[in-house]
Structures are given as C-alpha cells and as structure tokens.
Symmetry: C2
Subunit: 277 residues, 2 copies
Amino acid sequence: MKEYSSEEEFLKDYNPKEFEQLSMTVDILVVSVSSKDSSNYRKTDKKMMSILLAKREDYPFKDKWCLPGGFLDPKTETLEECAKKVLKRETNLSNIYLEQLYTFDAIDRDPRTRVVSTSFVALVDKNKLKQHVENASWFDVTFIEEKNNVVDIVLDNGNETIKMTIKKVLREKTTDRYDYKTVKNDSLAFDHDKVILSGLERIKNKLNYTDIVFNMMPEYFTLGELQQVYEVILNKKLLDPAFRRIIANKVEKTEKMKTGEGHRPSYLFRYKKNERD
Amino acid sequence: MKEYSSEEEFLKDYNPKEFEQLSMTVDILVVSVSSKDSSNYRKTDKKMMSILLAKREDYPFKDKWCLPGGFLDPKTETLEECAKKVLKRETNLSNIYLEQLYTFDAIDRDPRTRVVSTSFVALVDKNKLKQHVENASWFDVTFIEEKNNVVDIVLDNGNETIKMTIKKVLREKTTDRYDYKTVKNDSLAFDHDKVILSGLERIKNKLNYTDIVFNMMPEYFTLGELQQVYEVILNKKLLDPAFRRIIANKVEKTEKMKTGEGHRPSYLFRYKKNERD
DNA sequence: TAAGTTATTAACAATATGTTAAAAAGAGGT
DNA sequence: ACCTCTTTTTAACATATTGTTAATAACTTA
C-alpha cells in the first residue's frame, strides 16, 4: 500500500470505487387522520388513521401499491432532503413533521440489486393537502393485534382493500423490540408492510411522551376530536376526565365553539407549546 | 423505455448501475460500565459509563480515535450482520445487545466520497471481555449538559483525554428532537461525536421504560451497584426507597451476599425477566 | 317541550412516587 | 469487646398522578 504523509495527499489519490457500492432509497410513511362520517343526522363521525400509498407504474412490483419514495442521488442530497423532495411531490407540502424511522436493508428486499432504504415518518394535517395526487391514494388503516404477537393490518381507500399479516418476534436480549416476519402480503411492494407496522408502532409509542399528535390536527379542534385521535392511535377507549388532565397543559381553550353537532357544543382548543413538560 | 410483460423479464435485463451508487459503513457505540475504585480501604468505587474507541491506522483521519466500524459488503451481508462481525472482531463477543441507532449521511461526513453510515448501540458487560484488543481502548465518559443545550463530553482512557462540544438545536415541528452541531471536536474522526451523543441520549431515554440496563450488569449485583449505574446514566442522584420500588419487579433477591466492603453486607440480586410490565 | 347526545367537571378512589428517618450489620481501629 | 464509620434495608408518611363514577350543562331534532 502506498504511503502518504498527509490527509490532503491521500485524498488526491483516492478512488471512490475502492469499496463495493450500492443504491439507496427513501420511503416515507405519510400519516394523517381522516374522519369517516356516517350519514345519519347526528354526525357521530369516526376518526381513523390514514396513510398515503402510490401505485407503482414500472417494474419491479408493477401495479402494486407502495410507500412514496425514491432513489437517493448521492452526489447532491441527504436522505432527509430526498425525503422532503418526495413529500413535496406527493403532497405539495413542505415544513411538515418528518422523522427518520429505520434503515431497512434485507439483502433481497429489492429484486433488482442491493438497495438499502431509509424510511421516514411524516405527519400531516389532511386539511392542508392539495386535492388530488397523481397515482396516489389515502388508505384508512385498521390495526388488529392478536394476542400471540400477530398483527393484521387492513388498508382501505374506498375502492380497494389491502390486507397483510405480520408476526412480531421478540429480539434476543430485549423485552421490547421485535423483528417482523411477513406472514401474508400480496399487494404491497418491497418490504413496505414492515415499514408501515414499524412506523405505526413508533407513532403509538411517541404519543404519550411527545406532542406529535398536533402535527395531525387542524389549528382548532375540540377535546372530543383530539381524544378520538388518541383512541384510534392507541387502539383503545380512554376515559374523559383522565384524558383531559393528561393533555391539559398541552392545549389552550379559545373563545370559539363548535356547534351544530346535535348535542352540547364544545369549546375549540389550540395547541400550546410548552416551555418544559 | 423498453416494455416488459412480466417481472421476470424485466429483472433479466436490469442493470444494477442504473442509479448512482455509494458506499455504506456501520459504526458501533459499544457501551459498558466500569468501576473506578479509589484506593482507600473503604472501596467507595464510583461507577462510570465507558465506551470503546479504536485508533485509526490509515487515512483519512489517520491516528485519530473513532468508533469501531467497517464498510458494508453489499453482496453478502446486512448492516446488522456487518455490525456483529465488527463486534466480534473488537470484543470477541457475540450474542450481545445490539440496536440500530440512526443513519448518518451528511454529504461531507467522509472526505473521500459519499459514505452513508448506519450506527448501532451495543451494550456489554465488561467482565465478559477478553483482555486486550489491538488498537482499541475503553474511555470513561463524563457528560456535562449546560442549560443552553450545549453538551460537553469528556472521554478518558487513563492516558489520553478527548473533549468535544456539541450544540443541540431543536428540530422544526418538534419539542423533543434535536439536530446536533459540532462546536468543537479535534480528536474524533468523522461525525462520531454526534453518534456518541445520539447513542448516549438513546440509552438514557430507554433506561426508564426498558430493561436494557441489565445488559451492562454482571449476573449477580447489589441494588447499590445497580442504582449507581442508573445514576451515572441519568446523571443525577436517586433516593434509595424510590429507586428500589421502581426496579423491584425487575430483579429477584438471591441467597448470596456481598461482604468485605467495610459496611453492612448486601444481598446479591439477579435480573428477572417479566411477563408483562 | 321532551328525548337523545356529547361536553364538562366535581368528587372520590386507587396507585405511584418523593421524602424522612430509623434500625441493621460488617470492617477497621482501639 | 466495643466504638465508629459506612452503606443496606425498610417503615412510615407526604405528595402527586391517574382511574372511575356520576352529576349537570347545553345543543339539535322530533
């Protein structure tokens, strides 16, 4: 091996292809809440989580659904910049909550060649979205966790239903971390079923000790609406007084009211950023 | 663009170099606890966190310290397998706690070319380690967090002291996530100062809601020793009765005692894996 | 005006955590 | 043998947080 006497001298000679190379992509789990309102006069609308999927137009996995994503250009952009670019394209939004989730890298996750993918979670308020996105569609999420660590996820966009089943296997030396094994997945490209499960669990965990939920809420909301969002993410009913105490210092009451719902009107609240929790 | 009629046909034709490629590495923050015992007869030993660093033998960053790591071979291994390989080389241990931390990818983080690095945290019990590792050394960690989100980290291996200063900048749309800006770092290669801070914060956060601490403990330990480890990771004093209640259902008392410490002997405890917490 | 529905909060119960203080017991020194 | 030092261990109480029940409020529609 040639001897160098300085960092500069070494770099002048360096051949970037010295190590084997690979391609990278980003995949983004874009999450929002939707309200499926029933048609009766009392609008007991039911909040659901919904995620954005795109239809693949090319091989591989042609005509399957997948998470919005794209290849990283190693010359010019970081993974996060690439993710923001994809988000801008798919939602026309910028300045939204974006968090690196996990880097998925099973050797055969892409049938073409070795492609490592760093996934992100983005949280958006659906009200701010532009109307239609080419080849993309929002799917409501139903999440069924069985006792034996088997999870069924059902996605529905009104026309089409996608089902997948994943088994969670406890990792060695841990009590709280899992490997995901796909049991059944016929409609989603790549390993995006695992990305979805991973992202949904991340959101669920973070709900209790962060303020992320407000990234999915409009500026003004009732406490009932906020509670419904908590309930759909945590997948369980909460009791009103307990819930209100817990979020009390995260929101502030405004003068506005929401009326016309067929029952006592409620105050509209707003997110209040706190110094220290 | 050529038209294909099946996935197989497409793949037969696929050129892996179609997209720009890059190299990937893994970096591992190997964390343990050490006991610096003072020489007085009452062995009021002080626990510290310690991390493993390696001295770089080649360019770039020749002769600087860095985290153990290595290039990924995209043909044959996953990131985690690569991390396990590095761990085996540096500590001769396998079957240890290993968790993917974050994928660092600043465009200029490696002066040679674009190298994206996925970092891992490994937790080990130092007692299980082989004696000496070539070119590697354990550094005790001192962590000083200033009020204004500036963190000083001091690393010491007995011969050498490494100091670094990092500023934490709150990320947009969040109340709990930070970008790290290096203020001062003269001795650590690449962006490993950020990896270290990121990993230490991850451990600190997970301490309260997981059982990770026991990966750094020997099989038998006193509650005083366990409490010291909590204190050094959380960087604050805990009150005995409160601490004991909190960890009560994670440990089980054994018949063994630890004596000869110059004070009342203490029972030795053992980690007890729990059904449900 | 009555019925139905959700909003809001008071009041109490149960649990969890913070704090003080006291008793226990080995090592070392005299 | 006894005293001192030290840490271990636990009891007892104080405080804070969260769970639960139930009562009242206020709108919409019939």
